[in-house]
């Protein structure tokens, strides 16, 4: 579907509807796609597309701020929520999978919003309508939280077969689900040889995640007595953020396992012969975690809201309204705000303090810029599995009302790994899961 234009989709829907009238029994999907799912809006409907960290936060906090005065509809395609944050810790075998898994139903029931478990097929911004596999929903405001997609085209120049081979044999696991399970199996099964981990070029989802992942993979290799190397190929010239903390962990805990290669920009990936060519040399591997560049999620492209030059959505830096459509807020990783990393914590924070505050003000007829609050961002990284030890970065922002943008006020980093910070890592996650899911 990714290559279809919006017009194609409408054409298909039209054909589906036509067939539906002729063969009622065999066209349930097409018929429901064209049907209205909810009563018409009373002028206060906010449809949230995407139940990730941004979408879940938006749904709850809009209801908390406005109660019955807002009609919130959350549309998510997955049957169950799996958290990307902490998934590296799970990859390292330090938590069970149920730590990551959460249900969509409890918060919808508790806070009183409508949860629709369906896949969005198109977004018609002129009609303010979201089409799904179950029917369509009209909105007054849309919060688009589609997350990311992988840009394999940057590596394979449109060769879909090679992209598929790469994605199948060496899944990236930056979008939760089957890919994560596949990667864990690879890591657990690895016995000897060279395992390559490619760091995507910035900006990508969760800047420290590739380095934390490397530490957790190295922890598993160390525990399993693997005779092999983990090579980190980084397009940047140094580890960022928390560079000293990661470097110390690699040197002090995994010296015989981890090899860090900076300035290794990917030139060519050959997933068949297992070779990757970079600006720092060519690397042959036995197994790998190949992470292509990231872009805004598919639905942002489908809605026509992505700046093709950057691959991300241009938004108002305070309200996160799309620069192309003020009725659409782009929350989470798909939006581009200067100084904001793409991460679960940041998505949660900017959604709660900026998107929800601005939208609430708009719905109440007030000034959204006045309502926006400064977010914070706290990011723990587990670097040791035995004993569990972590490092942390915490960024405080303030709102520059003149520039109409958030600016960094203070950056606190603790690069000395400790068990205390490992405990705090789990509490960080539990607390945010509590906020979104209980």
């Amino acid at each position: 579907m990714a290559d279809f234009s919006r017009r194609d989709v409408f054409k298909l829907a039209g054909v589906g509807a036509l067939i539906g009238t002729m063969h009622l029994s065999s066209t349930a999907c097409a018929a429901t796609t064209a049907s209205r799912m909810l009563p018409p809006s009373k002028g206060n409907r906010v449809v949230i597309v995407g139940g990730g960290w941004a979408g879940m936060t938006a749904a709850k906090h809009l209801k908390k701020e406005m109660g019955d005065k807002v009609d919130v509809v959350l549309i998510e395609k997955r049957k169950i929520f799996m958290s990307c944050p902490i998934s590296n810790v799970w990859l390292g075998g330090l938590v069970e999978m149920d730590f990551l898994m959460h249900d969509f139903h409890t918060p919808a029931s508790k806070y009183g919003y409508t949860f629709i478990n369906a896949t969005v097929t198109d977004i018609d911004r002129d009609k303010k309508r979201v089409y799904t596999t179950e029917g369509y929903v009209d909105y007054d405001y849309l919060i688009l939280a589609p997350g990311i997609r992988y840009n394999y085209d940057a590596w394979f120049k449109g060769d879909k077969d090679m992209a598929r081979i790469c994605a199948t044999h060496f899944p990236s696991a930056f979008i939760p689900g089957s890919e994560h399970v596949a990667l864990k199996r690879k890591v657990d099964n690895f016995e000897e040889g060279t395992f390559v981990l490619v760091v995507p070029p910035p900006p990508h989802r969760c800047p420290p995640a590739p380095y934390e992942r490397a530490a957790m993979i190295a922890h598993v290799f160390k525990k399993n007595g693997v005779k092999g190397r983990l090579i980190i190929l980084d397009p940047k010239d140094q580890i960022k953020p928390k560079g000293p903390g990661f470097r110390q962990a690699y040197e002090q805990l995994y010296l015989d396992i981890v090899e860090y290669v900076p300035n290794a920009k990917v030139k060519e990936v050959d997933p068949v012969n297992k070779v990757i060519k970079t600006t720092a040399g060519d690397f042959k591997f036995d197994d790998a975690n190949l992470n292509p560049p990231h872009q805004a999620g598919d639905l942002a492209w489908k809605a026509g809201l992505v700046n093709p030059k950057t691959g991300w959505c241009d938004v108002d830096q305070l309200t996160l309204q799309s620069k192309l459509d003020p009725h659409v807020f782009v929350a989470g990783d798909a939006s581009s705000v200067k100084g904001f990393p793409k991460s679960g914590d940041m998505a949660h924070n900017h959604t709660q303090n900026m998107v929800v505050k601005a939208l609430t003000a708009l719905l109440k007829g007030k000034d959204p810029y006045e309502a926006v609050k400064a977010p914070t961002n706290t990011c723990y990284s587990m670097v040791n599995g035995s004993p569990k030890e972590a490092i942390v970065i915490n960024v405080l922002y303030e709102i520059d009302r003149k520039k109409k943008a958030p600016v960094k006020k203070k950056v606190n980093v603790e690069n000395t790994r400790s068990a205390r910070l490992a405990h705090a890592t789990f509490e960080w996650a539990k607390a945010l899961y509590r906020d979104m899911f209980s």
Binding site: D345, T376, K410, A424, A431
Partner: protein, 238 residues
């Protein structure tokens, strides 16, 4: 605040003030529902005898439970007089925080459930703690703060638990203390209560610890004050 709410506040404040007339004048200043009276509870030591001012070490963090048997609070003697101040909530409500109590007016108490995401001290860990001046927070490089290590919310114990930095939307809930005849009593709360969310979020854990949600919600009439290290196996300061 409508008329009925205002009358309710006045009556609770008035009732509280019977116990401590000095409280009345300050608490009645447009508390806007921020003050809530609970059962008056005597603070005691582990041996059951009343806690006296000289039992408190300056700068030491103590824990007790109030107003429910499962809701933890911290008690700190800050060593010098702490003056009252106006405190503002995120919804614009303001209230007057009484300042320190005790002979030196130096003892303060706050509910130790983080107003951000409800992290609280358990027998295993305590993530939200007081950092005395000689044990500064490594993250922010200063002491005399209360900090939650889950998401780095930082509060000012000398200013009614107001937020210094971090994501917490509201100040710490104040536990209103009264000092009379050389004894400390907890009489109510001041600020935005996190209890409803707390009981909801931790239902499973509280049931395990106290037997049932109902038992976890029992109000206390006496509360034992212990050093936080005696309660939680690990104190997480960051």
């Amino acid at each position: 605040m409508n008329r009925r709410e205002f009358l309710k506040v006045c009556s609770t404040v008035a009732t509280a003030s019977l116990a401590s007339p000095s409280l009345f004048s300050k608490l009645v200043q447009a508390q806007e529902g921020a003050f809530k009276k609970y059962k008056k509870a005597l603070l005691v030591k582990e041996d059951g005898s009343p806690l006296k001012p000289e039992d408190l070490k300056v700068g030491k963090e103590y824990i007790f439970f109030y107003p429910y048997r499962s809701t933890p609070c911290m008690l700190i003697d800050l060593g010098e007089e702490v003056k009252g101040t106006q405190v503002k909530l995120s919804d614009g409500t303001t209230y007057y925080w009484q300042g320190g109590v005790g002979p030196k007016k130096s003892v303060v108490a706050y509910c130790s459930i983080c107003p951000h995401q409800l992290s609280y001290p358990t027998p295993e860990f305590s993530f939200i703690n007081y950092y005395p001046s000689d044990t500064p927070s490594k993250v922010v490089g200063r002491g005399n703060v209360i900090q939650c290590c889950a998401h780095m919310s930082i509060f000012d114990p000398k200013k009614g638990g107001t937020v210094i930095d971090g994501p917490a939307p509201n100040p710490l809930l104040t536990i209103v203390l009264e000092f009379s005849d050389g004894k400390f009593y907890a009489v109510g709360t001041l600020g935005k209560e996190p209890f409803e969310d707390f009981f909801d979020a931790y239902r499973r854990g509280l049931r395990k610890r106290y037997g049932s949600s109902r038992k976890a919600k029992e109000l206390v009439e006496k509360s034992t004050v212990v050093e936080v290290e005696k309660y939680a196996k690990e104190i997480i300061r960051c």
